[in-house]
Amino acid sequence: MTLAGCLTLAAALFSLGVYGLLTRRQAVAVLVSVELMANAANLCFVAFSRFRGDVTGQALAVFALALTVAEVAVGLALVILLYRAHGDTRVDLASEMKQ
């Protein structure tokens, strides 16, 4: 695995995440997109960590992983909350002015 390969993969994951975030309406799908983005960043950290022979990046990636999982847990709990209140898990991030 070359550095360029890792970075291309990370960039692709990140872009996919952004695309999903902008186009998806299902809350879980949006959540997955956000996680893709976070993991793209983690991949970058790990790739550069290995490339530079420096463990700081790996340590950061481990922390970031744990934090993202905590984030997912809260997110899924909120999805359940929405499902119970609404009977639906669609979320429209663009809607604003409902008075």
């Binding site: 744990a66 999982v69 905590a70 847990a73 899924l76 359940i80």
Partner: protein
């Protein structure tokens, strides 16, 4: 990436590739032999999807109870905390007493979270 790391890559993953290849070979051989040698006389009864001897009912996509999500969320959260244990375990000798104390603090916090879940009834299956 230099030659040394390439070498170590093949060295460390070599056995795994061998296991994968071997199990593939076994599986393919068995299925091929079974389909070549076994007798075949299908009946409509035999052609229906097999479900533990009972007749299959309902759609394939069943809505899971929301209780599974709660359990799954809790599992994932507690599970991922294990990633902090691995580096600590690897460096246990070098981290010494300080590392031990720090890990104990971490585990205490985790236990507090577990106790909280327990007392709050998040682990109860029947609600």
């Amino acid at each position: 990436m230099n030659d040394a790391s390439q070498l170590s890559l093949t060295q460390s993953y070599g056995p795994i590739f061998m296991i994968v290849a071997f199990s593939l070979f076994i599986a393919v051989t068995m299925f091929t032999l079974a389909s070549l040698l076994g007798p075949k006389n299908p009946t409509p009864e035999k052609a229906i999807p097999y479900e533990c001897g009972s007749e299959s009912t309902g759609a394939a996509h069943v809505k899971q109870s929301v209780k599974f999500y709660l359990t799954a969320i809790l599992f994932v959260v507690f599970d991922i905390e294990a990633i902090f244990l691995y580096p600590w375990a690897v460096l246990f000798q070098r981290l010494g007493v300080t590392g031990l104390v720090e890990m104990l603090v971490f585990l205490t916090v985790l236990t507090a979270a577990l106790v909280y879940c327990w007392k709050k009834g998040a682990l109860e299956w029947q609600t």
